[in-house]
């Protein structure tokens, strides 16, 4: 069995994930009375927070940090591809 992250690391990661969720919610301007489209910068912040959350979950909760760089790159790359596709679909109608 590979070395597992300790309790402290797990709790710090959990706190980070919770904070990033709140950052994403705040960036999405849920407090607004009107449901207006997000500014591109806010949408970008939502996607960046999501990407960082996914990276932390992979590296710490799933302990991918114990794997080779190739596997780390594969999974992080897949997450980045997913977010790029989401972001492209979101931004394309505004930019074209």
């Amino acid at each position: 069995m590979t070395a597992l992250p300790g309790s402290r690391r797990l709790i710090v990661t959990w706190l980070t994930l919770m904070m990033l969720t709140l950052v994403a919610m705040f960036s999405a301007r849920l407090d607004q009375a009107s449901w207006e489209p997000l500014p591109l910068a806010s949408a970008l912040l939502v996607l960046v927070a999501t990407g960082f959350k996914a990276q932390r979950l992979l590296m710490v909760y799933l302990n991918l940090r114990a794997a080779t760089p190739a596997w780390k790159g594969t999974f992080v790359g897949l997450v980045l591809l997913t977010l790029a596709l989401i972001g492209a679909g979101y931004a394309a109608p505004r930019l074209i």
Binding site: T2, L38, Y61
Partner: protein, 193 residues
Amino acid sequence: MTEGSPSRPLPNPGWGPLSALPGNPLMWVLILSEVVVFTAFFALYAWQRAGDVAGFNAAQQDLDPLMGGLNTLVLLTSGLCVALAVEAISTGGRRRARQWLAASMGLGVLFCVIKVVEYAGKFSAGITPETHLFFGYYYGLTAFHFAHVLFGLGLLALVSWRTSTENVETAAAFWHMVDLIWILLYPLIYLLR
């Protein structure tokens, strides 16, 4: 994938390219395939939304992003509990591992309750998958994820009964995958507009 340096032993020797992955290698195959499947659906959603931004945005207003956010926090906390269960069983704390697994399952059930309340609210308001294409994706993607949560709860219950390091680690990996997919799904369906 590389075989790693000789000074660093492989977590799963004999598994070929998968030998460098921690935990059960087959679970990583499942995680990879599930993420690919969800990515395909997310891309399709983004593509179709780009063709009807106003319609998707109007339909999206009927969702409650705070409820979705609450469910995110619940699922992430459940993920912490299952990670602590892995840590406990790896140090011989079988009873403590079962307690963490029970906490994780309790939060998983809470996630399901919140989701069912959300679905019930939508159906009682006459919002069905046929209402708009957006709701077709909303129900389809969240229900597919919900099915994974139910399966994950079954796995966690099973390893609470048959508690071993390998079993808990394998079930925990599945549960974290459920977490990972929700992390990607939540902003797409609830936040981006």
